[in-house]
């Protein structure tokens, strides 16, 4: 069982409502766009659609795919006061054009761009990287139900 850093829990970040299955073979950009569409309603009161898509597209170029095949596009917004995430499961996956790594799970993370939240932001990135190891990703890719995905990740 992975020990979770103080102030960070996967169950508060990932629930069945923010898990989507991206069937087919979307490209990396398409996958990120779909995840952004999914998260937009939760932050639209604070961030405009354009600002969100522009910023995510910008960081998408900066954020590398992890060696484990897990991808965490993440962006920070000064308007936010909490963390928001959407997990995309890609049963067929896409090949990262930079590394060639096969990506079957991607999580879009939006964090507050405030000094008080930076430590937690980093803890979340670290915890996600630790959790989403290749074996788990393969198991997740085989699932069809968001609740089952959530349960496998959080152990609840």
């Amino acid at each position: 069982m992975i020990r979770q850093p103080a102030g960070v829990s996967l169950s508060s970040l990932i629930n069945p409502e923010n898990i989507i299955f991206l069937d087919g073979k979307p490209s990396k950009e398409e996958a990120v766009r779909l995840l952004t569409e999914k998260i937009l309603p939760r932050v639209s009161a604070l961030i405009s659609r354009k600002a969100l898509f522009d910023r995510v597209a910008e960081v998408e170029k900066l954020n590398p795919v992890l060696e484990s095949g897990f991808y965490i596009p993440h962006a920070k917004f000064p308007e936010l006061d909490g963390f928001h995430a959407v997990l995309g499961i890609l049963p067929e996956g896409f090949a990262d054009p930079v590394t060639g790594l096969k990506v079957k799970a991607a999580l879009l993370l939006l964090s507050p761009h405030k000094p008080a939240f930076f430590q937690r932001h980093l803890n979340i990135l670290s915890l996600l990287s630790q959790t989403f190891q290749p074996e788990l990703i393969e198991k997740l890719a085989a699932l069809k139900d968001p609740a089952a995905v959530c349960s496998l990740i959080t152990g609840k």
């Binding site: 060696e67 932001h121 670290s126």
Partner: protein, 668 residues
């Protein structure tokens, strides 16, 4: 399964050069060379200008304090300095080549004069002991000295080819033993003088024709008054040999570097006054002049032991102790001459004025064996040519010593004007501030003394002048031709097939083989990439305690793929990073463990090495392309990805440091 990106290759810079020593050990290394002249300088000076010699040896030892001051200022200015660097900075490469050629004569002759002196002391002891054992062997002392000197030189030739490092621990033991023997000698001498009374030696030197050299052809140049004093000073100055070792050893002195350098200098000065100066003086008070000139001319301190007041058996034991201490110290000086000459030549080679042929590393031992061979062969030839005549060796020796000191002092004066804006943490005293220049009145006075003594030495010591000029010219020519060849090579952009071998590197398949070498309580990982951006490393070196903290300096080169065994080599740029790291570590006198890895991701390398080594802290420099926040994010992701679920809970502080600022994050 936890993803575990592997390194293709791990290069570890040999740590031998990056371990730092206390001021006691630094003093011992210098004294093994500098102090060893006590065993022969008195006898040589006596032969040159008679019974006045102890005044001048004592005077030279007092003058050593002044020269130690000059070296202190130059060491502080150039951590990895020495005569070559100092002269190059002050007067350019041509003069630097000339000065280092003279210095090489000093180092090269240190071996033969020390080994022959040790042989003469041993021979003198055997002359006393063998009859007591009813062994009636008559071994001519000089023949024995030559055989012994050849054996010692051969031994250290082999050892230096094998790359056995000069051991500061051994030097400290030797100097400690010598100090104990010296104290006993001084106390016993005091008792003897109290019992017998004494007469002070005359102050006026009386030169032999041989010691006057070419000055006999200049009737106006009388060896009296101040000229006579300077001539006698020149004949005694060989006792100053070994000061350059201070410049060589400074880079190894531990933090706080300048304070420890000052302590080292004080210890060397006190030891030299008491050991070389006082014992030589006491010898002249106790031993009759005719015995100094005859029986004990080549083993003065043995003579002192044998002429003390007391039973013969006790004096013989004292002689044994003196000879043992002398042999240990003198033999240590032979090794110092190999290490010093090799070090100076390597320093010169770093600057491109020695052809790569000379720098070829031994296939098995990784040492610059061709340089060691040249040093050894030259020393053996000198021993054979001298035929064990310590006076002859002493005459030649002074040439290199005098010119080295003169070049160093002149350079320090020039640097006062040339580098007038450079802040100096210590300056040789007696300065007059004029604008932004500290006019070095004290240094000018020293230079005047040195130039006078050097000029007179050139006239009085025929062999030294002829031999010295020949030797210096030969090495200067070798340096000059090498430099021209290297320049042509650089213009052709020729590939250097052996560039890999120039740095003292060890290749490992995996980081785990390095971990047992990290024995201290704490561990800090400092990733580096740009040799011009090491502010973060400097901040770590400035603040950490060397005794309880390992500092791993990690340089990762990005290569695609993650398979092992790619056989990659380090580029010149990679080596530049290592060189900058080593220089900085030397500046602060703190030990670092530089590690170079080939990796597919620098942050994975950091995380993996830090987790494997159990690092308490990771200190990064800021990246101009991504910025500190992105660096932290990538490290956090790499850290999490590589972290084993069962890993013990440990908080690791990650810091990004740049000029005047830092960002911290607690990895967990």
């Amino acid at each position: 399964m936890v993803v575990n990106p592997k390194y293709k290759q791990v290069f570890v810079l040999s740590t031998a050069m990056l371990s730092f020593i206390s001021f006691w050990k630094a003093s011992a290394i210098v004294l093994c060379d500098f102090g060893s002249s006590a065993f022969y300088s008195g006898g040589i000076a006596m032969r040159a200008f008679g019974p006045a010699f102890p005044w001048f040896i004592l005077g030279v030892m007092l003058f050593s304090g002044v020269m130690l001051g000059v070296y202190t200022e130059s060491c502080i200015m150039f951590t990895r300095g020495g005569l070559y660097i100092v002269v190059r900075e002050a007067m350019g490469k041509v003069m630097a080549k000339l000065s280092v050629s003279a210095l090489l004569l000093d180092y090269t002759l240190t071996g033969p004069i020390s080994s022959v002196a040790a042989g003469l002391y041993l021979g003198g002891l055997f002359d006393n002991i063998l009859p007591l054992l009813h062994i009636n062997w008559q071994v001519p002392s000089r023949a024995f000295a030559v055989i012994f000197a050849l054996a010692v030189t051969g031994y250290f030739w082999r050892e230096n080819i094998k790359g056995v490092e000069e051991s500061a621990d051994n030097n400290l033991k030797i100097v400690s033993f010598v100090a104990v023997v010296a104290v006993i000698l001084i106390v016993w001498s005091g008792f003897t003088l109290y019992h017998r009374g004494f007469t002070l030696p005359p102050f006026t030197p009386v030169f032999t024709d041989e010691a006057l050299g070419w000055t006999v052809h200049f009737p106006w140049l009388k060896a009296v008054g101040l000229v006579g004093i300077m001539m006698a000073f020149g004949h005694s100055v060989l006792a100053l040999s070994g000061l350059e070792t201070l410049a060589q050893v400074y880079r190894e002195i531990e933090d706080p570097k300048i304070e420890n350098l000052k302590k080292t200098v004080v210890i060397i000065f006190i030891f030299s006054i008491l050991f070389t100066g006082l014992l030589t003086f006491i010898s002249a008070l106790i031993i009759p002049s005719d015995l100094i000139a005859g029986k004990y001319a080549e083993n003065l301190l043995s003579g002192l032991a044998l002429e003390l007041h007391g039973p013969y058996w006790a004096r013989l034991f004292m002689q044994m102790a003196v000879v043992l201490s002398g042999v240990l110290m003198l033999v240590g000086a032979v090794n110092t001459s190999f290490v010093g000459a090799n070090g100076v030549l390597n320093r010169v080679a770093d600057d491109g004025i020695l052809h790569d042929w000379f720098r070829h590393l031994h296939k098995k031992y990784g040492t610059t064996h061709r340089l060691v061979n040249i040093i050894a062969i030259t020393q053996i030839l000198i021993i054979l040519i001298s035929r064990g005549d310590i006076y002859l060796l002493g005459q030649a020796y002074a040439f290199g010593v005098m010119w080295s000191l003169t070049f160093d002092t002149l350079s320090m004066i020039i640097l006062r004007f040339k580098k007038r804006d450079e802040e100096r943490e210590w300056m040789f005293p007696i300065n007059i501030k004029a604008g932004n220049v500290y006019v070095p009145v004290g240094l000018f006075a020293i230079l005047l003394v040195l130039l006078t003594a050097t000029g007179l030495n050139m006239l009085t010591k025929k062999i030294a002048t002829i031999g010295g000029v020949l030797f210096t010219t030969t090495f200067f020519t070798i340096f000059h031709i090498s430099e021209k060849m290297n320049e042509k090579k650089a213009q052709l952009y020729a590939e250097d097939d052996e560039s890999d071998e120039k740095m003292n590197l060890r290749r490992e398949a995996d980081i785990s083989s390095v971990l047992p070498e990290l024995t201290k309580d704490r561990c800090i990982l400092v990733p580096v990439r740009n040799p011009n951006n090491l502010v973060h490393l400097a901040s770590v070196l400035e603040t950490v305690e060397d005794e309880n903290t390992n500092i791993i300096v990690l340089s990762a080169k990005i290569t695609s793929g993650i398979q092992i065994g790619g056989g990659e080599a380090m580029s010149d740029e990679d080596k530049d990073v290592f060189s900058a790291v080593v220089l900085l570590a030397e500046k602060y006198g703190k030990t670092v463990k530089p590690i170079f890895v080939f990796s597919n991701n620098p942050f994975y390398s950091m995380a993996q090495v830090a987790q494997a080594a159990g690092a308490d802290e990771i200190v990064m420099g800021v990246s101009g392309s991504t910025g500190a926040e992105v660096q932290m994010e990538r490290l956090a992701m790499a850290w999490g990805m590589l972290k084993k679920p069962d890993a013990p809970a440990k908080h690791v502080l990650a810091r990004v440091v740049w000029e005047g600022r830092q960002m911290t994050y607690q990895l967990s």
